[in-house]
Symmetry: C2
Subunit: 306 residues, 2 copies
């Protein structure tokens, strides 16, 4: 029995919202379906934000409605506020991810709220969601947990405080996000340990960017600290709004290659996953695709995926 | 006191020998000097192989003669046989690295010898070197220690056997090379442990490629197993002859960023090191340069380099 590690594909949300051009709803639907068919167990398909702010996400309700019809995949949507959560619920999302910036600077720039105000918003969301007929999971995602392009270093105590508050208001799970890609393996270890020390397994996920080339090494550090849920984006789509030209989320294909090589079970057919890059390239022909395994080819020593 | 980790820059050897075009001796000299001035403590500057086979390396003797005049840097040259070792000695190299393929297939393709025949050649080299007036270190580099594009998986017992034989014939240090980039963190850990179990600290280095995107994660795994010497190439120069388009050695700048971030002392000024990419780009304008920190910029949270 191999131990399970869950990979949540966030390309359709975090990747596309940074893309220079816009992927059509039709291609997006096919792309999400192809990844689900390769065995990806969770996909964050969009964001319920103002279409004025992020036009790439204006079809999120339609995308969620289509994606939840796919079998065996958890469909996640980002919702920054109660209104977004209500729209996600109406579209049938299985889970929402609600961002809470740990740093003041990022919180004001991204959400126009203080961290405390956003925690209060999460409380309202949880309360509303629990009052509905159908269950919908709520994840609290702690942005800038490992550094902030505005505020610089972020104190571990601040991350712990936000995580504890999110647990207290009743989110189902907490994730730590390296929003701007400043993390390194020692920091991953120390912050994960500190948060786990307070909220235990409620901390279940890491959202990592490869901005400085350490994304996969940071995932390894998290894995060794017991994290079993990682966000990643096919072809490392996306980037960092604060570092033009920088690479985006960690590359799903390379992460899966590492996890399966190390003996973990992701449930993903790596060969089929890599073929889903073709749809991405078709839908966003101008976008740079990252990733190494897809270029080099799966080596003959690779274990056959489950 | 921060713990020291030594980075050996191998771009001028492993990077350039894979390059499509040829860097002039003048630019190569300036590039090596710039890296040395940034604090890189060891540089593998070339290879004493037949200029017919690898024309990019035909000026290695001249490059070594110039490089050994630089202060505070160990100048290394690759020497596949006794003749190459003698040429390296004549040019004044401080150290030679002698490759020994662990796998039969790679050994025959790369050296036209069996692994046993190449170990015997290393014995002749060590014997000859020890008879000279000036000391020159001899490193035995175990190629294909983590997999082979010809033979597939490589048994850990085979790696241990070659490493033990190299130690027995008296090399100063042994390095394990992931020549084709098939390694993953668990394999790094188990092979390093097995070899260390037999020859202890004589195993001191890892030579890693980023072919599958796991290079820096593999370095982290080696670091956690006690390895304190890593080969890397500026801008991840080079590639893999068996995987066209694949990336090359792990990126020196990103590795240094990780090590310094984690509190290790590399002795390297990261900002100056990144500026040495300009000379590389000038000397090889057609070559793709890899690496993330150089694109994203050193974040404000980075510790000031020593």
């Amino acid at each position: 029995m191999r131990e399970r590690v869950t990979v949540c594909e966030v390309g359709p949300r975090d990747g596309l919202q940074m893309a220079k051009s816009r992927m059509s709803t039709a291609v997006k639907t096919r792309w999400i379906a192809a990844m689900a068919e390769s065995g990806v167990p969770e996909i964050e398909v969009g964001s319920f934000v103002s279409p004025r702010l992020i036009p790439q996400m204006s079809d999120t309700a339609e995308i969620v409605r289509r994606a939840v019809l796919l079998p065996r995949v958890i469909i996640v949507a980002l919702a920054p506020n109660l209104r977004g959560a209500q729209e996600a619920y109406a579209a049938g999302a299985h889970r929402i991810s609600v961002p809470v910036s740990v740093s003041e600077g990022h919180s004001r720039a991204n959400l126009n709220r203080t961290p405390d105000e956003q925690v209060a918003e999460v409380a309202r969301i949880v309360s509303w969601v629990r009052g509905q007929d159908r269950p919908m999971e709520v994840e609290g995602a702690c942005s800038t947990s490992f550094g902030c392009s505005f505020d610089g270093r972020v104190a571990t105590a601040s991350v712990v405080r936000v995580a504890v508050e999110l647990a207290a208001v009743g989110v189902d799970m907490v994730a730590l996000a390296d929003t701007v890609g400043y993390a390194h393996p020692s920091l991953i270890r120390s912050v994960v340990r500190a948060v786990r020390g307070e909220i235990g397994a409620r901390l279940d996920g890491l959202h990592l960017h490869d901005t400085m080339g350490l994304g996969i090494a940071n995932a390894l550090a998290g894995l060794e600290e017991g994290i079993r849920n990682f966000d990643a984006a096919l072809a490392g789509l996306g980037g960092c709004p604060f570092a033009p030209g920088a690479s985006g989320n960690i590359v799903t294909e390379d992460l899966v290659f590492m996890l399966e090589s190390m003996g973990f079970d992701t449930g993903i057919d790596l060969d089929r996953l890599i073929r889903a890059r073709d749809i991405l390239a078709e839908g966003l022909p101008a976008e740079a695709l990252h990733g190494q395994v897809s270029v080099a080819g799966i080596p003959k020593t690779f274990r056959v995926a489950a």
